[in-house]
Symmetry: C2
Subunit: 468 residues, 2 copies
């Protein structure tokens, strides 16, 4: 790849600047930017301002705090000198999950500690560490090319509400679509298979969710006097949940699978290549058996197949002991993970029609959908994906394999609004403890992230030129 | 019926003593004997002492307060002079439901008001009024016979915890079984079909209830990362509830219907005789459609058929909005109304085995049963039932029809422990507002209750002689 910087220069640059880079990251981690806790609103703002200043210092000509009705985001832009260069938008977030010593932290979650090649602290992996490797990454890239600006038009959008639902993110992206416009989106908020198996994530599932409320009698009524002679809304709620799947674990909602392409043999082979250990996976899942759609492996089920799940159900008396009533109402919360080919809005219509068919006379129901998230999936032969794989391969000196994410994220909003393919570059590993006590990042992997970013801009510039 | 007192003497006696009887009842209603509210414990005791004193005054040689670990009961005994006479035990309760002006009472619930031929006040119908008609009833009976003691050995047991679950009643009955021993139990704690259709209740359903807890993952887990690949305990809970009934509304638990005799044509005809208005029944049920076991009418469903009902269900996230989790746990509360022929303990075993068959690998479950209540049903040709029907017919001057109760009550404990048939003598009507604001009793009906009791002891003595 002609335009990519020589590896030795990159590595030397990273070695030289490693200590300062880690000091800076530690400084950022000291800011408890917990977006879910109102008392930390000032810290989230401080985190945004700190990052904007740091990006200025890194060399980004534009680095500013963007207001939202909630927590502020940070936007930065470093144009390439080549007007034909592709535009890359990096996504991450600067807010973190709540953390307190009492939760089981061995050290203060907001006083980072480096030990055994790891940095411990809230946000070390999710997501400050993974945002921050782009600062040293772009500098290493410039060191190798000798150019004053990156080989791509490099943009960053670092939101401040990811850990509290990204509630204002889509609006922000829509309002700022012109500034955020990009040919490729790189999301640095995921991870790899393991310390020893570097991987690139090629997609996330979408999600549609709803609450269905069922109303029966006008109030709880006596089950002795009336039970067995009037419809029970909790029974109807249960029937809806029970009817979601057939005996093979397939979702029974007519039209649910419309538009989905079967997994190809090649895709299945790539998933099967990963060193999957079911017992270990179950430990991570804190579960005691696998289950699911017949004919698919566990990884296929969570990465590549759509699912229907009941997230909550409630109705009638839930206190201690018994209460002989026919409940007045019941409700269920359902969510559907969606894969490439599925349209969340079509799924919503299908769910609505299917539920209507299950509700008997005497029960009223209403259904409320949350804002859906579309699935995103990068084709394996996409040139930008190949750039990421090559850059990671150079940094790690290992074959890079492919994963997907079972979850859903604001990445899909970027794909949706900006119309750009979304790629994932993350170096976190499952043991990093996202959202858990003693979150850490492996420093070796963090610096491989820096190195990958350093190679990536050159590689992308070479393979992914914008139309003239 | 030879030994029954002449009707005119009874009526004259009642007319003469009516005012004093109502004054006494009002005095009793002023005692707020709310057993469910600890702050009224003293009032419940005062109510018991008031009643015991009043029964002494009425002429019962034995009238005493019986302690329980909870609220006290009242026991009274007035032996007949004829040692061959049958022993009758009347059951009622002196505690009442909570009541407060703020609930929608037009007058103070504990300051009884007589208006338009009704006495308003908490407990007027449930159950003080219906206990109290036995005091004037036995005096009218004696006035007519001229004897110093009733024609039957007359016992009363008036408990003080019926409105808070009769938690100590069965223990009390077991401990005092020798004193409570009777040939016939008369329960005065039910009602009639309506003001214009006097009826005798011939049975109550039994009840068995359980809570089933389902445990899946060790904690709530991410539905994106793991959903669709591990079993969801809320899905299992829903499947258990959904599987309770088949498409015909029949309970699917193997063995559930074992031992039940089909309704005879005669029994169905008696139920069909009642002036049933579905729209009015639905208003009372605060429900918007009838539903249930195919092939049975609404009254047959609630009176004469066993049912399975979900009283509560819960699991996962039940707050506002969505939360994409696979819940760690879920639970359901089920209750089963039982009819004559069903054994609650066999039903419990059947439920347990059936649930086991529905729980997949990876889900643990536990099932906890409450104390069951047996069903009771008096055969239509039982001589004591015929006595009640005849006595009511004389008092009301109308054909007396038959009802059942869909609910379950401590009456079954008396049947169970004492081995005596349980009969029901109640004059309350659906409009009396049990457990509701503005509870009242119709004074005309209350005095018909007095009159019925006055005839009943003679009738029972004549038809239901104890073995020599």
């Amino acid at each position: 790849m002609s335009d990519t910087p020589p590896d030795s220069v990159v590595r030397t640059y990273i070695d030289t600047h490693r200590a300062a880079f880690l000091d800076d990251l530690a400084e950022w981690l000291r800011i408890p930017s917990v977006s879910a806790q109102p008392e930390h609103a000032g810290d989230v703002r401080r985190s945004a301002e700190w990052l904007a200043a740091k990006l200025k210092e890194t060399g980004f000509p534009v680095a500013e705090v963007w207001e939202t009705p909630g927590a502020p985001a940070v936007y930065a832009h470093w144009p390439s000198e080549d007007p034909q260069a592709p535009t890359v938008l990096v996504y991450g977030h600067h807010d973190v999950q709540p953390a307190a010593l009492a939760d089981g932290w061995r050290t203060d979650p907001f006083e980072p500690v480096v030990q055994d090649g790891r940095m411990y602290g809230r946000g070390a992996a999710d997501d400050k560490g993974q945002v921050f490797f782009h600062t040293l990454g772009v500098r290493a890239h410039l060191a190798a090319t000798g150019a004053p600006a990156p080989a791509v038009h490099l943009k960053l959008i670092v939101e401040g509400e990811e850990e509290s639902g990204s509630v204002h993110f889509r609006d922000l992206v829509e309002a700022r679509a012109a500034e955020l416009a990009a040919d490729v989106v790189i999301v640095s908020d995921t991870g790899m298979w393991s310390e020893t198996t570097p991987t690139v994530c090629t997609g996330m599932r979408g999600v549609a969710d709803c609450e269905i409320d069922f109303q029966g009698p006008d109030q709880d009524i006596h089950s002795g006097a009336f039970g067995g002679a009037v419809p029970n809304p909790a029974t109807v709620a249960a029937r809806v949940v029970a009817a979601l799947h057939d005996a093979d674990g397939r979702v029974t909602i007519p039209g649910f699978y419309d538009g989905i392409a079967d997994l190809t043999d090649a895709e299945r082979a790539l998933i099967a290549e990963l060193p999957f250990d079911e017992a270990e996976w179950l430990r991570t899942a804190k579960s005691h058996a696998t289950a699911g759609e017949a004919g698919y492996s566990t990884l296929e089920r969570v990465w590549a197949r759509p699912t229907a799940e009941v997230n909550g159900i409630g109705g009638g008396y839930q206190g201690p002991g018994g209460k002989t009533i026919v409940p007045a109402s019941a409700h269920v919360k359902l969510s559907f993970r969606l894969v490439s080919g599925q349209d969340p809005y079509q799924v919503e219509v299908a769910v609505q029609e299917w539920v209507e068919g299950l509700v008997p006379a005497g029960i009223r129901h209403s259904i409320t959908f949350g804002a859906p998230t579309r699935p995103c999936l990068t084709p394996l032969d996409h040139p930008a994906l190949q750039s990421v794989v090559r850059s990671m391969g150079r940094a790690f000196g290992q074959k890079v394999r492919f994963t997907r994410e079972g979850g859903s994220g604001p990445a899909a909003d970027l794909q949706d609004v900006l119309g750009a393919p979304v790629l994932f570059l993350g170096i976190s590993v499952p043991s990093d403890g996202w959202h858990a006590p003693n979150e850490k990042v492996e420093l070796d992997l963090l610096l491989k992230g820096v190195e990958t970013a350093a190679y990536l801009w050159g590689d992308l510039a070479a393979t992914h030129r914008a139309p003239a």
